[in-house]
């Protein structure tokens, strides 16, 4: 619940999310839910050269796979 509140205060800010598959994504935090699923807008992959897989606008991340967030 505490972490959920922290995420809520970060809404509309630019955050970087590190996933459990080593992927790091930066984007504007649009929403968080109780499972810490996260919606990011205007996303970028941190290491674009290594991960050209992402050709997207909006991202919806499953909270379960988030490793780290800053």
């Amino acid at each position: 619940m505490l972490i959920f509140s922290v995420f809520k205060t970060l809404t509309d800010q630019r955050v970087t999310v590190e996933l459990k598959n080593d992927l790091s994504i930066t984007g504007v935090l649009k929403s968080v839910d109780q499972f810490l699923n996260i919606r990011l807008d205007s996303i970028n992959v941190l290491d674009e050269a290594r991960h050209p897989h992402m050709v997207l606008n909006v991202r919806f991340l499953s909270g379960f796979h988030i490793h780290f967030c800053f």
Partner: protein, 91 residues
């Protein structure tokens, strides 16, 4: 979830990347894709697209869902892209 429509990219726990038209989803984020294709990335050759057709993906398996930016997607020449596959997740 509700803001997603059209073509989407799914990244799964085992590192697979699947592109398809979002046909439906439910409360548990189970997802149905139509006209889906798996994009297989490798270092030695360009991206291979494997036709999967209609696909149901269990919500548990999904790491990320993203809406495809059609303009960018059209501009990308998949055959020329060399990249390591996305890693499977580690707990």
């Amino acid at each position: 979830m509700s803001s997603l429509q059209g073509r989407v990219l799914l990244v799964l726990q085992d590192g697979r990347a699947i592109v398809g038209v979002l046909a439906g989803y439910d409360q548990k984020s189970n997802v149905v894709l139509s006209d889906s294709k798996e994009r297989i990335y490798s270092i030695d050759e360009g991206v291979e697209e494997v036709e999967l057709g209609l696909y149901l993906v269990k919500g548990d398996m999904i790491v990320l869902i993203g809406e495809i930016d059609e303009a960018i997607d059209r501009a990308v020449d998949l055959a020329s892209i060399r990249a390591e596959p996305i890693l499977p997740i580690r707990y």
